[in-house]
Amino acid sequence: MVALDLAQNTLDGLMVGSSYALLAIGFTLIFGVMRRLNLAYGPTIMAGVYLGTAAFISLGAPILVVLAIVILGASLVGLYVERLCFRPFGEGARTASMVASFALWMQIEEAAMHLLPRHMNPFPALVASAPLEIGPLMLRADHLVMLAATLLIAGAATYLLARTKLGLAIRAVIDQPRAAAIVGIDVERVMMLTFVLASAIGGIAGFLIAATDAQVTAMIGMWATTKGLVAMMLGGLGSVKGAIAGGLLLGVLEAHAQWFLGPQVRDMVAWGLLFVLLAFWPGGLMGAKALDRTMAVGRRV
């Protein structure tokens, strides 16, 4: 039966991991253009989710309206974070940006408590149908929606980066910011757009996560920062493909840990991985190659 457990866990892990992948895509885009960590990323998402569900609770907004509010709310709060924590400081002031984003984290949580003071708040459920059965395996319908949405957004992000002019500008800023300015790219504008885009993607992830649980607490902010950060680190910083792989991997590892070691261990997996990664593979499992390449280039220059 262990084989079946393994298969079921892996399947569940992939589904949950797809939401981590979305978080990691947003995280990695911000990290790529800013080269600084945005600790307020998760709380930005939480703010969007809280605004959405406030409309749901008080006005009975339908689920698609809630989705729109979550995306818009996360984008605007993301813009606010960029203005306050990143725009004023240069790339040289990494610590200043990180500390400032930590301060905004606290501020956003405080504001959320005022908006919805209860610890646990209802959130519109995604799909309420019974789980699908595939042979001996079970699959939740809302998890399928989550996976489909992840693939769609990952595809759209990849297309944007690879095929559009904005994507070219984003990659140029990630790759060599000074050269990007020299060829006439408005670097500050690209940073701002990337920040808003990443926050919107995070908002979608937050929506999907809250909707599959049909409830939400303010903890989702901290939770999203942790999961997104670890998934990004697993996949190697600054790559969309790596972010997807890292998110799925984290989901699968957590599912196995929960099944075999218990639910308390589940959340320790992310923290443990973060520690191991920082200690042994600071470039990420898949980022090592990219890092080598960058260093080789650096040596030649």
Binding site: K165, L168, A169, R171, A172, I174, D175, Q176, R178, A179, A180, A181, I182, V183, G184, I185, D186, A290, R293, T294, A296, V297, R300, V301
Partner: protein
């Protein structure tokens, strides 16, 4: 075409440019010589909008561009081949060229220009799909030049394009500089290779410790004398005398 008046640019408290004035005449090749740390790169970045001068004015084609953003300066027809090339290492050769044409809206013309660059730099054509970071130093320099040309500049600034390149490639770079100039591009070139620089330049400036200390026309001065001034140092008494009297017009 380019007029720099009394520019002061500082890194923190240290003034790297202490009041630099010079002019680059349209259609000419103007060369900026000077020892390491003189402030040549600082001047290039100040003109291109990457660094903001504390004082002074920079005019391009009669328009004041002092303190404008790099993208605004590119829009006015200036392109920079930066020191150390600064290609986009994780992007292909072709994408580097596309990035050079970032502000242009004429996609079809951009495609033709990329083909033109490939005709001028056949090595880039061979390697169009290769990541720029994996090119040789000489190839990266060609790419940096081609990328700058993709914006169709009226004036091209080049910061030590021959740095670290083999003599044959240096010759090729200078041949390209002369060709571009024949095609009507105004060129402002920073060089440490005095011999090559004086061969192509119509006019040159010498910079030391953040100041222009000498300017002249190559034919009128023995090369040794320029080298002497540029690298063995000049006494303050003899310097500065011709600074503003040789402005090309």
């Amino acid at each position: 075409m380019l007029d720099v008046q009394d520019i002061v640019t500082a890194y923190g408290k240290i003034e790297a440019l202490k009041g630099v004035s010079l002019a680059v005449a349209e259609g000419r090749i103007t060369c900026l010589l000077g020892p390491n740390g003189a402030g040549k790169t600082t001047l290039m970045y100040s003109i291109a909008g990457v660094l903001k001068p504390r004082r002074g004015t920079i005019r391009l084609g009669g328009v004041d561009i002092t303190g404008q953003s790099p993208s605004a300066v590119v829009a006015r027809g200036l392109a920079l081949v930066p020191e150390n090339r600064l290609v986009f290492p994780q992007m292909s050769v072709a994408e580097n060229l596309e990035a050079g044409a970032y502000q242009r809206r004429d996609a079809a013309e951009v495609a033709t220009d990329i083909e033109r660059m490939y005709a001028r730099f056949p090595r880039l054509k061979e390697r169009h799909a290769q990541l720029a970071g994996t090119l040789s130093g000489g190839e990266q320099q060609m790419l940096a030049v081609a990328r700058a040309l993709m914006s169709r500049p009226r004036i091209l600034l080049m910061d030590e394009p021959s740095l670290g390149l083999a003599p044959l490639i240096v010759e090729e770079i200078f041949r390209i500089v002369a060709e571009l100039n024949k095609d009507g591009v105004t060129i402002f070139l920073v060089e440490q290779n005095v011999h090559m620089a004086l061969k192509v330049a119509h006019h040159f400036y010498l910079m030391e410790q953040g100041r222009v200390t000498f300017s002249g026309e190559p034919g009128k001065l023995a090369e040794d004398e320029v080298i002497q001034r540029a690298y063995l140092g000049t006494s303050r008494q003899t310097s500065g005398d011709t600074t503003s009297s040789h402005k090309p017009g």
